[in-house]
């Protein structure tokens, strides 16, 4: 069928003009004997300007007989008919019985000019070289009657809302889900962080300040800084560790305070007099080392970390530790 259609189109291009020209001269409609047009009708006899109408033609012919229709758009254009082809011929086989096949040719048409027209004839070709003209119905194209006496202006209607397809909505759904998921994860992260838990909800075991301080002091001791002439680094490390510990233990912003201010703020913290005095002395020595290039004696260096450790051990929050142990029991 396709092969035939190609041949037909080639022939059509060669002689199409002549055929169309012949229509203008009121060609008599004569059908071959093997072809029977069972029905040829429009879905509506009358349409409004711009409305669409289906032209359906049902025909019967022997099963082996081939037939091809000339594109109706070409016919319309050649005849300059006041109709437009929305969708050209669609040929379907309806049934094959007793060697007879029934075909249906469907066209979708519209018109933007009002009037009563006879549609251009349908043109078909056979492999034998015969040209067949099929009769066409009348189409009434009407305008909307406007009552000019009682006419009232209406605003222009808004754009017609076509229903959204799932494909169109899908990216927005995914974006929404992503935002919801991100917001949930952020909320969970903040909540867990406040509750001192990790991302998966497991409680983060944070070492108490005195453990952190003791660990840092032990590390400083093992680094053997003063033994290698790095007294400044050694004392900076000790004081920084102690300041961090004091900040965490007593809630005193020790990192932003001078040694004198730190000692002043520790006065009312019920620290043993001996530890307080030792810490004061340690800070003073550290200040001398840090800011005055003071090189301490060996015994001062040896005593520095033990003094810091004693201070931490004598001031850490023992009550809390006891409470924790009780809870664990």
């Amino acid at each position: 069928m396709r092969h035939f259609a190609k041949i037909f189109l080639a022939v059509l291009l060669f002689c199409g003009g002549g055929i169309l020209h012949a229509q203008e001269q009121m060609i008599p409609i004569s059908l071959p004997q093997w072809l029977e047009v069972k029905s040829s009708s429009l879905s509506k006899d009358s349409i409004l300007v711009g409305e669409q109408v289906v032209w359906s033609t049902v025909m019967a012919m022997p099963q082996q007989q081939e037939i091809a229709f000339l594109p109706y758009a070409a016919v319309v254009e050649a005849e300059q008919a006041p109709v437009d082809v929305v969708r050209d011929f669609r040929l379907d086989t309806l049934s094959i019985k007793n060697g007879i096949k029934e075909l249906e040719a469907r066209l979708l048409l519209t018109s933007f000019d009002s009037g009563y027209y006879k549609l251009p004839l349908m043109v078909a070709l056979t492999p034998q070289g015969d040209t067949i003209y099929l009769d066409s119905p009348f189409l009434d194209v009407t305008n909307i009657q406007i009552d000019t006496a009682n006419f009232t202006m209406h605003p222009i209607k808004g754009q017609m809302r076509y229903p959204l397809t799932f494909k169109e909505v899908l990216p927005w759904i995914l974006l929404g889900l992503f935002v919801i998921a991100a917001a949930y994860l952020l909320y969970r992260y903040i909540k867990y962080r406040r509750e001192n838990r990790d991302f998966f909800g497991k409680p983060v075991v944070k070492d108490p300040p005195h453990i952190i301080a003791l660990r840092a002091l032990d590390k400083l001791r093992s680094e053997k800084l003063w033994q290698n002439g790095k007294e400044k680094l050694f004392y900076t490390g000790i004081t920084d560790t102690l300041r961090e510990y004091i900040e965490a233990r007593y809630n005193v912003s020790a990192m932003e305070k001078t040694s004198g201010e730190i000692m002043e703020s520790l006065k009312d913290k019920s620290i043993e007099e001996k530890q307080y005095g030792e810490l004061d002395e340690l800070f003073k020595t550290a200040d001398l080392v840090k800011f005055a290039k003071y090189i301490p004696q060996v015994h001062e260096n040896e005593e520095a970390i033990p003094v810091a450790v004693r201070f931490v051990n004598s001031t850490f929050e023992q009550t809390l530790e006891e409470d924790k142990q009780k809870e664990e029991k």
Binding site: E256, T258, E261, K290
Partner: protein, 330 residues
């Protein structure tokens, strides 16, 4: 790498700074209270910086600088700034002598070791500029000749925080030339009672001249030798930078309150004033306490506030407090 013998320096400073106690003792004979003012006068004197004083009238500002001049046995002049004052009234001028039939130089009151520029904001900009230029250059040009100002040369300018009508506020660039801005407050009740007693006595106490100007010049050299560790230098830079870009120091709330931050001259002044403070405390090295002790005086006139800050009654002192409470101490 620079090597500093701190032990030797400390001993030298202990020796050289002995006069600080004598000055304080002599000052206390005449000035009751105002320890803060006296201390800052000494810092300015030792750090070779000028002082801007702000305080109500009658708070012993003039008496303090006069007493200091007496103690140092130096020349003291007072210039009362008025709207009709001319630059020549401050720096001097050329006067035609009929006797010698020549122009002679008449040096102005600025040629003194201690100059009190009283109510500096009462004079127009040209007079202020003449004084501030002399303060900066430490020399004055009259006619074709340039004259060096005596050493030590300390200007103490006063501003009255009230009666702002008809005044010419010092521009920011000129205020920056004062090393310290000291706010003088009222004495305490006990101190005021003592002041009355002193004035009711037959003879008002007088400070003795215990120093020569040369001693101050020599002491200034020693102050320059006071050791300042890199950590302290970094601390000073951090404080000054925090006035410029507070958001970098976790002080984003100050960003909209500060119009402009302190200049590099502030860093220099903060370092010098800290050294002088350490010297007064008879130490050969600077510790963070020294920086914090002079921080307000050095920075309060070098930070510009925005309209938002003024509308919210936020002062430069509030800003400085926030900064020193946030910048990490070495």
């Amino acid at each position: 790498m620079e090597t500093v013998n701190i032990k030797e320096l400390n001993e030298r400073i202990q020796k050289e700074s002995a006069f600080v106690d004598i000055i304080s003792m002599e000052m206390n004979k005449v000035i009751v209270g105002q320890k803060h003012l006296v201390e800052n006068l000494l810092i300015g004197l030792l750090a070779d910086g000028h002082i801007l004083l702000e305080g109500m009238p009658g708070l012993a500002k003039t008496l303090a600088i006069n007493t200091l001049a007496n103690i140092v046995d130096a020349k003291f002049n007072r210039i009362q700034f008025t709207p009709d004052l001319l630059p020549a009234d401050v720096i001097g001028t050329m006067i035609y002598s009929q006797k010698s039939e020549q122009f002679q130089v008449k040096q102005g009151p600025i040629f003194a070791n201690f100059v009190l520029a009283d109510e500096i904001n009462r004079s127009p900009a040209k007079v202020q500029s003449a004084l501030l230029e002399a303060m900066q250059e430490r020399q004055v040009t009259i006619g074709d000749n340039t004259y060096k100002l005596p050493k030590p040369f300390l200007v103490m300018a006063t501003q009255n925080p009230v009666e702002q009508e008809g005044t010419y506020p010092l521009p920011e660039a000129q205020v920056d030339r004062f090393m310290l801005k000291v706010v003088v407050s009222y004495p305490k009740k006990e101190e005021e009672k003592l002041i009355i007693k002193m004035h009711n006595a037959r003879e008002f106490p007088k400070a003795s001249a215990v120093l020569k100007p040369e001693d101050i010049v020599r002491a200034r050299e020693v102050v320059k030798d006071v050791y300042m560790d890199e950590k302290i230098e970094k601390y000073i830079v951090d404080i000054v930078y925090a006035t410029r870009t507070p958001e970098e120091y976790g002080l984003g709330k100050l960003k909209d309150l500060i119009q402009y931050g302190a200049s590099p001259r502030a860093s220099i002044s903060l370092a010098m004033a800290s050294k002088a403070y350490a010297f007064i405390k008879r130490r050969g090295y600077v510790i963070p306490e020294d920086v914090r002790a002079v921080c307000y005086e050095v920075l309060r006139h070098r930070i510009g506030l925005t309209y938002e800050a003024e509308a919210e009654n936020i002062t430069t002192e509030n800003i400085i407090t926030d900064i020193i409470n946030t910048v990490e101490v070495p």
